[in-house]
């Protein structure tokens, strides 16, 4: 129990962010036409690519002689970037079509 309390106290801000973000996510999504479900999922997919920041930090803090960390970190950076770049580009391509048909 003490472990959890002290953890909460140390990460109070983070805990607030988590709770507020949960509600925010629910609020933001609740009124979406079903047509947009796929692009929205794809967009959300790109946003969780924010994990790339963790990968960069891991990579950047790895000791130059710690090959395991270097290799895994490197892999993580590549995968994370694919997630971010691919995610946003795919979403944009989907939405491009939605737009083009409206202007026609």
């Amino acid at each position: 129990m003490d472990v959890i309390f002290s953890f909460l106290q140390q990460h109070l801000e983070a805990v607030y962010i988590v709770i507020l973000s949960v509600f925010l996510g629910v609020e933001v999504i609740s009124r979406v036409p079903s047509v947009l479900h796929t692009p929205l999922m794809s967009g959300a997919n790109a946003i969780h690519g924010v994990v790339i920041i963790g990968a960069i930090i891991v990579m950047g803090e790895a000791e130059p002689d710690n090959y395991l960390a270097l290799v895994l970190g490197f892999l993580a950076v590549i995968l994370g970037t694919i997630n971010v770049v691919g995610g946003f580009v795919v979403t944009d391509r989907m939405l491009e079509m939605f737009k083009s048909k409206k202007t026609k």
Binding site: I17, A44, N45, I47, V50, V51, K104
Partner: protein, 464 residues
């Protein structure tokens, strides 16, 4: 400075997501979120400091960003519109793998310096959570990808759900053991948890039917979000926290919304009581169906006043959207009114049909949503059902015993006549018989959707 950048990043994610939920602003929203992401990444590279120390290994980081960027860009640009769902699933898996790898490296650091004490124990819990969720998401996404592109078939064996539960229980148990025996936390145990998580991801998705993949991908999407948020806790990084949790909660809601559109509960999808042979018990006396020839279909459609096309997964599989648009143009030129009736869950993903038809330049005004379409069927002469099945199954309205009872459907039986194009009489993904096919006003036109449409076009051009 960096916290300001992270704040801006978080705000762009929220604004972006909000704008994505409105058709008019969606594209701009995506661009805003992408901009925020770029800012956050650049900020991390140049400004991140831990205990006053900046990052090193810049060469590796830049190389990784470059390689990943090129792969992501090329694959996202090249992928066909019809293969979009698979691609999203694969990208999601990459994110999950990334989160899992971060946890592995962090665990490695932890074993190097043996800490004791409270905060570290909680840190280990977060590392484990990130790794388990990340690798489940990775393995699951890869399977979902394989299933959507058809390289992996549905595999289920008796007691699979119990097996899955046991795997999950073992993962949790081992995680608890590792946490409690912290200083002695062995690498082997950690690796076992990693492997079990991957196994769980595979077993979790394998038995779920292809039609339910969008729901699963959406769920795995929110998993990855949570895994990313674990990283946020680890580094006390607010932008990872907001981004991750936002996607986690939004993804969960989206998953539930998708299930609702199909009138099924999440539990139902995951346990997959759908699609087994057991539901076939609800089928009654079916009677006979009648077939119709291509030339008859061509005549009926060419001389109709109003034709409604109901696209389904068959259209997507056959890549028949262009042929479909061609037929529509031809009929319109002859003065036939052609509309499309889009069921929200037709195809493999909500909105799948809209994207597909948009690719073939079908005008937006021709696509009717379900409620609109249902109001127009009684003035429609011919309904052409292209590879859709469950979304037009009247059992959803009439048969309380049916597994899809209560799901809103397109009421095509109100039209004067219905022509159903399917490859065979095999039931659809839900594995249930469709009474519609046996009704007197329904005729069956067997064949691959694209092939049939092309022949119809040729028939109308040449002989009418």
């Amino acid at each position: 400075m960096l916290s300001l950048i992270y704040l801006i990043g978080s705000v762009t994610f929220i604004v972006g997501l909000k704008m994505l939920s409105n058709p008019a602003t969606a594209r701009k929203g995506n661009a805003i979120a992408a901009g925020g992401m770029t800012l956050a990444i650049l900020g991390t590279i140049f400004l991140y400091k831990h205990h006053g120390q900046g990052l090193h290994n810049y060469g590796w980081i830049v190389a990784g960003l470059f390689i990943g960027g090129v792969i992501g860009l090329v694959s996202a640009r090249r992928v066909k519109m019809t293969a979009m769902p698979e691609m999203v699933s694969l990208f999601n898996g990459m994110g999950g793998a990334c989160a899992a790898l971060i946890s592995v490296v962090e665990f490695e650091y932890m074993t190097e310096v043996i800490f004791t004490g409270a905060p570290v124990r909680m840190q280990l819990v977060i590392i484990l959570a990130g790794m388990v969720i990340g690798s489940v998401s990775f393995a699951g996404s890869v399977i979902a990808w394989g299933k959507l592109n058809g390289s992996i078939k549905d595999i289920s064996f008796k007691g699979q759900h119990i097996f899955n539960l046991i795997v999950l229980a073992v993962i949790l148990l081992l995680a608890v053991v590792v946490t409690i025996t912290l200083p002695a936390a062995t690498v082997i145990l950690f690796v076992v948890i990693l492997l079990l998580s991957l196994l769980y991801g595979v077993c979790f998705v394998l038995p779920i039917g292809g039609a339910d993949m969008p729901v699963v991908i959406s769920l795995l999407n929110s998993f990855t979000g949570v895994a990313a948020a674990c990283g946020g806790f680890l580094y006390n990084n607010p932008v990872m926290l907001t981004g991750g949790i936002l996607v986690g909660s939004a993804g969960t809601i989206l998953t539930i919304l998708m299930c609702k559109a199909m009138n099924r509960s999440l539990k139902n999808v995951l346990i997959g009581s759908f699609g087994g042979p057991k539901v076939a018990g609800t089928s009654k006396e079916q009677g006979a169906y009648k077939e119709i020839s291509l030339s008859d279909t061509a005549v009926i459609m060419a001389y109709a006043q109003k034709v409604m096309i109901v696209p389904g997964y068959g259209l997507a599989v056959a890549q028949a959207q262009h042929a479909c648009h061609e037929l529509e143009n031809l009929l319109e030129a002859r003065g036939v009114e052609v509309k499309y009736a889009i069921h929200p869950v037709a195809g493999r993903m909500p909105g799948h049909m809209n994207v597909l038809l948009a690719e073939a330049d079908v005008p937006y005004e021709k696509l009717l949503e379900m409620e609109q379409a249902n109001g127009q069927f009684n003035t429609t002469d011919v309904v052409l059902v292209l590879g859709a099945n469950d979304v037009v199954n009247p059992a959803a309205k009439n048969d309380p015993a049916s597994p899809i009872y209560g799901m809103p459907i397109l009421e095509v039986e109100n039209a004067r006549s219905v022509i159903v194009n399917k490859r065979s009489m095999k039931p659809g993904y839900a594995g249930i018989e469709n009474d519609l096919f046996f009704q007197p006003k329904t005729s069956m036109l067997f064949g691959d959707a694209k092939h049939v449409l092309q022949q119809l076009v040729a028939e109308i051009v040449n002989s009418l």
